[in-house]
């Protein structure tokens, strides 16, 4: 048995050897070769690991810190090998710190070579959020190219630094102080009509809402001529440089037919509330009086006028400090006289709401005489060149019908109310997740950088370049505005929807506060909310009036409404003079004093006068030395100069003592966000200062006392 086995194996061996010999002549050489190949193959694996980019960076880093004074600490912090932040809830597995070894090393602030820079200070912890949530890129990759530049199907490259604020916007749907580009971009989306065509849904289910206020064109024939419409449609900027209507680069034929349709379709203004036309004036227009009225009425706060040097003057209410809270500016008036019909202008100035029930323009209470002066003053802004070359033949039925078809095609009714044209739904693609749109779904223009940010930016700046027949019109955005809009769009990501809802900070709900009764109606007519905020609704350019009834004395409020003036010496702008009647003022002051009261301030708990001279003197000391209030306020116009806060010369006739007392102790509790610093004032100091301030009465009030 054993012999048989031996014989078989021996003969096998002999056969194999002869086979081998037949193949190669000498057995040693190929054997050596094969083992060598095997060895090299095996060595590749550790060598590849050893020579990998990230190991090289880690060795570089160790060399870099070796000679520094704090090398011991730095070396102790250093962890070799692949480092990973793993946050399953956020779908983050980031290995960036494998190469970016010094992100948290404040003492390496002077190192400027990547990947060893420290991270600038941000309000979040790296180990709670990882890297890719903000920077995008491939967190799990371990080579530079894959981590930073990969554009494979579901993957995305790093977000360019200038759009980085977009990442904050994935969770923060309210404006943050440190993200001006994102805030501006969102504001532009809402103000420039983008949201009228494109829906944007947020992760909490709410929708972004437009805040612009496009004109209805239902009664347009009452307001302007077909010639003006024709010129405007072709080049809106030819009429108003600051126009926010996009340029459709409309052909002469289209403009001819649309203007024909709009005029033919216009409904005459009717109704009992229509203002009665004024009798024509006999005398020549009084330009000086016009200028005075224009100024007193603060028209320039909302309306810009181009001056002789072609600079825009006025209309700057929306420019500071937080544009998103400022009112929408009114239309530019540089060439208004070449646009509107005189009788329309007069009736508009008498009561704007009979023409447009949603307008933001206040209804001034001008006398017929004042109306004539103001409208003549405004009407004198003309441009004889504007329509000099427009000569239109009477419209044909065919042009009118074609105009209607064009109005539907251009989507005019998305923004404007037009009789008989329904508002189109979903006119343009929804943008709720546009910040994660895969490259494969984008059509690039040749020569363009193939990235999502470049695509969005290009589309915003030159939509027509992406192909004829696309419906998006040409806007006039500066390159900063286009960057801001791109930032806002890039914040609308899939990830934003996937992140846990505990991280989402929802946008502030649009406040819908509406004052009641007759006073509420008056406040709507005067559009107080354009500048003032009450109970969370309204603008930021004038004081918050939520607690105005606790703050001011009734007699002062009545006098102020009658003749508004600037409380802040350094402010040029002031509240417009509305010419309210006595009963209207009584209505408003009554409402303010009873309704806008802060419950914990008892107006009657402190007297308006009669404080002891000693207390007043103690207050004076505190005012000028300990608290140095004169750095921002003046009490004595001869001596004090501070011009940041309101002048306090008459404050004892203006404010209630209890309000001053509360204010001094915690101003932000009464008006959140006020810049008056909270001085942690003691009760004793506050009452002495209150006594001193209440002693500052206007001479009129002092005389009345005697």
């Amino acid at each position: 048995m054993g012999i048989a086995m031996e014989w078989i194996s021996a003969s096998m061996k002999a056969k194999l050897i002869s086979f081998w010999r037949a193949l190669f002549r000498d057995p040693i050489i190929p054997f050596g070769l094969v083992s060598l190949v095997l060895l090299v193959t095996l060595a590749i694996i550790p060598a590849k690991d050893h020579f990998s980019e990230w190991r090289r960076y880690q060795r570089q880093y160790l060399r870099l810190i070796h000679d520094r004074g704090d090398s011991v600490t730095l070396e102790r912090h250093f962890q070799g090998g692949i480092r990973q932040i793993w946050l399953p809830e956020l779908a983050v597995a980031d290995r960036c710190q494998t190469c970016h070894t010094a992100l948290g090393e404040a003492s390496l602030g002077d190192v400027s070579t990547q990947p060893f820079r420290t991270h600038s200070v941000i309000p979040h912890r790296l180990d709670e959020f990882g890297c890719v949530i903000c920077h995008r890129g491939q967190g799990a990759a371990t080579t530079v190219a894959e981590a930073h530049h990969s554009t494979l199907a579901p993957e995305e490259p790093l977000l360019p630094a200038r759009y980085l604020e977009a990442s904050c916007g994935q969770c923060h749907h309210v404006a943050l102080p440190g993200t001006p580009n994102l805030n501006e971009g969102r504001d532009l989306l809402a103000r420039r009509g983008c949201l009228r065509c494109h829906a944007v849904r947020l992760p909490d289910g709410s929708r972004m809402t437009p805040t612009d206020n496009p004109q209805p064109i239902t009664h347009i024939a009452a307001k302007t001529t077909r010639e003006w419409i024709y010129a405007w449609l072709q080049t809106p900027s030819g009429y108003a440089a600051s126009s926010t209507m996009p340029d459709y680069q409309m052909s002469e034929e289209d403009a001819r037919d649309i203007s024909a349709f709009l005029i033919a379709n216009s409904e005459p203004l009717s109704g009992s509330s229509l203002p009665t036309p004024l009798a024509p004036s006999k005398s020549a227009p009084d330009t000086a009086a016009g200028a005075t009225l224009y100024r007193e009425s603060s028209c320039a706060s909302c309306h810009a006028i181009g001056n002789a040097a072609n600079n825009m003057v006025g209309g700057d209410l929306g420019q500071e400090p937080a544009p998103e809270l400022a009112p929408e500016p009114g239309p530019e008036l540089t060439r208004i006289g070449s646009k509107v019909k005189p009788e329309w202008l007069q009736s508009w100035l008498q009561d704007p709401r009979t023409y447009n029930s949603h307008t933001l323009m206040p209804r001034y209470r001008w006398t017929p005489q004042q109306l004539r002066i103001v409208s003549a003053y405004v009407e004198s802004r003309t441009d004889p060149e504007l329509l000099a070359h427009v000569h239109l033949q009477p419209a044909t039925a065919q042009q009118i019908a074609n105009g209607k078809a064009l109005v539907i095609e251009y989507g005019c009714a998305v923004c404007h109310e037009i009789r008989g044209i329904p508002k189109p739904e979903a006119y343009a693609p929804e943008l709720s997740r546009v910040g994660s749109k895969p490259l494969a779904q984008l059509v690039f223009i040749t020569g363009m950088e193939r990235t999502l940010p470049a695509y969005l930016n290009g589309k915003i700046r030159h939509p027509q370049a992406f192909g004829p027949g696309l419906r998006m019109p040409q806007y006039t955005f500066t390159s900063e505005q286009a960057d801001a809009l791109t930032t806002a769009l890039l914040s609308l990501t899939d990830r934003s929807f996937a992140l846990p809802s505990r991280l989402q900070i929802p946008a502030q709900a649009v406040a819908t506060y509406q004052p009641a009764g007759q006073a509420g109606k008056l406040m709507a007519e005067l559009n107080c909310f354009a500048c003032h905020r009450i109970n969370g609704r309204g603008g930021d350019t004038a004081p918050d009036l939520t607690w105005e009834g606790s703050a001011v004395q009734r007699a002062w409020l009545d006098a102020f409404l009658k003749n508004p003036y600037t409380l802040r010496p350094a402010m040029i702008r002031h509240m417009p003079k509305f010419n309210l009647s006595d009963s209207e003022r009584a209505e408003l002051t009554g409402y303010f004093v009873t309704v806008y009261q802060k419950p914990d301030i008892d107006r009657d708990s402190m007297p308006l006068s009669g404080y002891s001279p000693a207390l007043v003197e103690q207050g004076r000391q505190l005012f000028y030395s300990k608290y140095s209030c004169q750095s921002c306020h003046m009490v004595n116009t001869q001596k004090d100069k501070g011009s940041i806060g309101p002048a306090l010369t008459n404050v004892g006739s203006r404010l209630n003592a209890a309000w001053i007392d509360h204010w001094l102790k915690n101003p932000q509790a009464l008006r959140p966000g006020t810049i008056e610093p909270n001085q942690n004032m003691s009760d004793g100091d506050a009452s002495a200062l209150t006594a001193f301030l209440m002693a500052q009465k206007s001479s009129g009030a002092r005389e009345a006392k005697r």
Partner: protein
Amino acid sequence: MKRLLLILGTLTLTAGCATGCAHQTALAPVLQATATGSTIVESSGGKQLGTPGAMLQQPLVVQVNDAQGNAVTGALVEFRAAEHVTFDPAASLTDSSGQVSTTVTLGGTSGRYELTAASTDKSGKQFDLNITELALGYQTQLGYELDQKYCARCHDQVSTPQRVSNYDNLAVKPPAFTDGDTLNKRSDSDLTAIISHGGPALNRSALMPPYGATLGKPDIQALIAYIRLVSSPPSRIAGLVYARR
């Protein structure tokens, strides 16, 4: 077989050379200086506050002068900076008023950027001008916003129509936040003290109000980071400095 390989190799080589050369000429348009000056001065566009990775709002304009201080036309100016900063154009000849204008795009990180504009005089020696630009990160941006809201009206002498300066009205003059000679001497803890508790905290005027009960700790840190960033001469603790290479 061998011949085929040889032909293929030669072809690849020539093709490579050709594209390489074509590339070279495309990259370096030859700019020849037609004149030389002896100094460069900044006309405008330095010390801007920008966004990392974005173009600065204003172009950077420098002027080349000769020894008598007259503007020189046709001098070659080259702009240089650390990597990631780009200039458009990176080199150019001065125009008829002796000026060169370039748009600057900063690198992707916040901090201080040191740029150089260089030219050569008639002996071929280089002379240059250093320019600083600043990129605001999250924290320094916050500091900037807070400065604009709370501090600038006293600490900045410049008035705008929207914001009239209160500087002239103050009996004790506050230092501008760019005043490195004064503020670099203050430690972070001194700055925190005076901002939180007002001037009297450091035996200074009470015209400097306390903000400790109005602003939070991160706000005050942001203000200090911003003050350190904008100071000139630069603060040692200014954080990142991207030195020119």
